[in-house]
Subunit: 378 residues, 4 copies
């Protein structure tokens, strides 16, 4: 094990206000790697951070793999049972980057052990499970965050700020979709297993679209949806399509699919308001398209000094990548912990995770019933 604690918990540049916070990470695959990179990078790029991540412990079932991950990523130790992470007194923030069926129990246990918690999306596999996670964690008083990282794309935050400032006027439409193309392959088999994943494209990709629709437009009133499983033998949806009615009168579509050949990672949305329109595509995540009134779309390369998050990066035009969303997200969480401020509205709480799950459930119900389904919260 390497001792990275020293570096990562170093004193802040301005008066020694920075102090370490012990991180315990569950999972070392795709999401685990993205979160670690977030912690490591924020420690010197978002300078000065009020809390400096100290990579205390990482948990995984395969000892050889988790041991290698600990070495590579600089954790002080590793464990093969997440319960040891929860029991570790030096872990102050529990980061759940594990598969969906490991979201609930460990996260609740960690919170009940007094640790702040961040959990990958979807929070639970169903609205019911998500609700229970939220409720039990909320009772403990710790900070909780659902890792809807796309709220932390600078262009998305800028869009939210423009909407908050009234620049779009009344919102008429939201058109959100998350298109990927790897559905025909058998990569990451757990994602097709209903017990492990809960749902397919819906929970994996659609949850992001739903979260952004709530973040940018507001609460959903109802959905009417269809789902498809194109690949024989799969238990989960490969795609869904939904009409979404919003409480504020806007109407739009929500979609996700793993069967859109040529679309690599195309989370895109468009919002039409009475005063203008915004459009975004994750494959060009540094760009926000903005039509002021009917003037036509202007490409804002979101990288100016006064753009969200940009004070931490480079001269304008020197664009950032997908991974930076985690840097911003985790720094936001550390700020909330350090200052005891709300994770909401810019960060997604477990309540947000639960609310997205209710929409997901309503989409599945509608696909089954053939009825437009109201979104109701417990």
């Amino acid at each position: 094990m390497s001792d990275s604690g020293g570096f990562l918990s170093q004193a802040g540049a301005e008066g020694g206000e920075s102090k370490p916070i012990g991180i315990g990470l569950l999972g070392y695959a795709f999401m685990g790697k993205a979160h670690v990179n977030g912690y490591r990078t924020l420690s010197y790029m978002t300078w000065p951070s009020p809390l400096q991540p100290r990579l205390v412990s990482i948990a995984g079932r395969n000892e050889q793999a988790v041991s290698a991950a600990a070495t590579r990523f600089g954790f002080e130790r590793y464990v093969t049972d997440w319960r040891d992470l929860v029991a570790d007194p030096e872990v102050e923030l529990f980061d759940n980057s594990g598969p969906n069926n490991l979201h609930g129990e460990p996260t609740v246990a960690a919170a009940e052990a007094g640790k702040h918690v961040i959990c990958e999306k979807p929070l639970g596999r169903t609205a019911e499970e998500s609700y229970e996670i939220w409720q039990r964690v909320a009772k403990t008083g710790v900070k909780h965050m659902t890792a809807f990282n796309y709220r932390f794309v600078p262009a998305v935050r800028l869009a939210r700020e423009m909407i908050d400032a009234g620049e779009l006027g009344d919102i008429h439409h939201f058109r959100g979709r998350y298109l990927q193309e790897w559905g025909p392959t058998d990569a990451e088999a757990w994602r097709f297993d209903s017990q492990a994943a809960g749902s397919g494209a819906l929970g994996d990709l659609g949850a992001h679209v739903i979260d952004l629709s709530r973040y940018l437009v507001g609460e959903l009133d109802s959905v009417a949806a269809s789902t498809r499983t194109f690949q024989p033998g799969r238990e989960v949806d490969d795609a869904f399509e939904a009409v979404a009615d919003f409480e504020n009168g806007a109407v739009g579509t929500l979609e996700a699919t793993r069967f859109a050949a040529g679309r690599k990672n195309a989370l895109s949305w468009e919002i039409n308001g009475s005063k203008g329109s915004l459009a975004f595509d994750l494959e060009r995540l540094n760009e926000l398209q903005w039509s002021e009134g009917t003037s036509g779309f202007r490409t804002i390369l979101v990288s100016e000094a006064d753009h969200p998050f940009w004070q931490w990066w480079w001269p304008h035009g020197h664009v950032i990548g997908w991974e930076h969303t985690f840097v911003h997200e985790l720094r936001h969480l550390l700020d909330a912990i350090a200052d005891d401020t709300d994770v909401a509205p810019h960060g997604a709480t477990f309540e947000d995770g639960y609310r997205v799950a209710e929409v997901c459930d309503a989409i599945l119900r509608s696909a089954e019933s053939g009825q437009r389904e109201r979104i109701t919260y417990r």
Copy 2:
């Protein structure tokens, strides 16, 4: 009145096979102008045409306006009652470019008088009306065409040919939308009057999306939809959103709105198949986006010598415009008349017009009922 018959009915270059066909046009506004330009242009650009349009007579209620239109566009005479057009023995093709509430009666009368007919979309204001038009016209044996001109965009025809050739494999998704921005204005007031227009964005814009979905993907099985009227006091929809289930298992979305600031004339669609994807946007109508498998999208500038319709135009890369769709459409109709061949499948018949109307009705029913509505045909 000028005598344009001479020019327009001139002999073909190759053996004098071309003969004149008398055109009677109802309407001289936006659509009338587009149709006239189509007739005039096809007569020398799509050379040699088996039939040469002879602009016999134009009908409109305002004598001063219709008289001026006749002069401008080169009709031999004008009338202020469409019945005179129907009664005119020199009119062989009746072109109905009038408002929606004048689609039914004149068109049926013309067909029953033995004239071939083309009618602007939507065919009728309801499925019932459309059905009756279709049935009565079909009985007469004349050629009939619903003017879904976007089938005649070279890129759209090319897409259809690629799909027919199996290049996309199984179709998984169709994502079609027609976005315009002029909804907040009061231009063309008849379009907001339910008696005159039948519906709003649905019949005006959505009908095109539905027609293209049928042309490119196949018959719809069911729809689940919502509509909106954003502008107070309007009788018709300003927008609709629908989930569409296709008979072949594809699933997608259909949308139209007049409230998308910044979108001028954005009829766009994307099709994802098991072997590749296609995408199109009317604002860049010369381009077809094609991802062969997951290779990424290539811009086909549809203007090569072997592309659809291109034998009539220019060296490749010398792009055409929106109006050219009418040139292709009307030439297609003249070919069907001259050769006594079917207008379908590339041209939309009145049956197609009726079938689109059934989908429109189902969308309105679903918006009302909150249920996914099956598309059934009488």
Copy 3:
């Protein structure tokens, strides 16, 4: 021969002010077809035109071909010797759409016979020849136009208007290029023959770039250039590249090539000024990219009612094509003839044709000498 004179010379709608003007056309290939379409279309689309083109006579050496063209395009008669066109008293406007080596003598003869003249570009094959054509024609007092049709793209005219209004401030850069890809083929062999064509990509494509640089930025002071002939055995350049110094202090590049695989008809330019930048690409000719200051580029879909030329066309967003440049250009010429106004500044005169030729010659001299060559006018 058909009698189209009746139609094309019909009275104007508003007070009978319109009168016919007899057109004599030399050439029936690519350019001839484009010009005919321009005359025919402007007669009813740019309504009311002060002069109505009457297609009197067309000239070509191959009798069978020119006869067929006359029939197809609606000319009253044809001739196989251009001198008969010049001698025809009913020809009032002589349109030279022939190959480059037929630009000089017929055009001068027509003007000296009192006919207005329009000549395809390049005006002459050399500056010397162009100068003589200009001088001799100017002496006659007829209207003369060099057919630099890209000045009549609505987006280009809009750019010029914005520059004239000071919206770009001081111009710093012009970056113009015309890229095509058909160089490796042997189509249109006369274009590779130095006697017939004068130069290759330079006179054919580069002349357009040079003309637009003068139209948009101002006179050139000097050029430093290289040329290439990639295909063995050709007498003319396949490509040139030049650094251009403008009199007003701007600096930029001029380029043309027939060897840019994937570029179909890519005449593109970008202008950077102290207050903003404009960019254009002919393959998307309906779009003008405009960055107001450093705000980022906005896509202006040049099709609003108040955009140049748009009063003649369609509702906004219903885009036009390449061929429409000729409609605008020829209407501009008819206006100048009817009203006895200057063809300049929006239309290119023979002086403009000559000045472009001086720049072309300087480019060839510089390629040869290895020196930056000043542009001087006789």
Copy 4:
């Protein structure tokens, strides 16, 4: 000072092959920050690296600032005189991220002290200075790299691999430009001082264009150029434009400017070959445009598992940013040091830095002389 050595020099995952390499960094501004981020990130993302950067010492003249930088970035110590860096026995790799006038002496001193060296571009302020740096460093036998980081954009490397594989055939054209917009401001004043910077846009931006032209197309034969200083009172060029003749017969343009409003960081190039064309724009650095033959341009989102550098990052479609070029570049250098392999051809050596400087000098000479200037090497 924190002790990050432990972390950064940790053993490799596969057999303990990794060993630490001590880094001494001169400069802590824009480039220094980018290099530090490169070292820190490569240590766990490009896993396993044969050498693990150990951040030994950082040098800067302002003690308060360099001390803060050392704390922030995790250096073990700091110095205010670069000579102390050179004298430090624990510094094994000297990284010169200082201003241009500090490139020569410290870099040579470090190499002569036996340290490997990487130096920001331009290597020297003139060809003469660059030549001396190269010659003196080459004699020492250490590894040397000029930090032309854009060679390490995945799309650029992929382009090079395609060209090497003959996929473009013979290269006809290279069209390279680097456009920025901040020229009218007075940020970073040293960049306008000829003693400190050597040249303006030429050395700062143009050097990148020239380097990529050599990397992708080959050696330049001659240039013909103009320069401009738009802002009164500046000693250096704000822009240059050049025609470039390549030894292999290709011809093209090279440009750089700081006066292109709306262009944030637009390093773009296009290459036309006999078998296809490639195009790139740094503002969309994850995309490579590829026209196979004349098929039209396809967007390759360079993020597939088999794309250059991508084995280190994320699932395909999860795009990276500007800063990642430094991760790739520095890892490349560490590989060369660890394995004693050549930095060339994918990395730029000091010879490459010198050769670019010769081209820069020739551009300045040509702008002065008005002659096409041959590129010759000492």
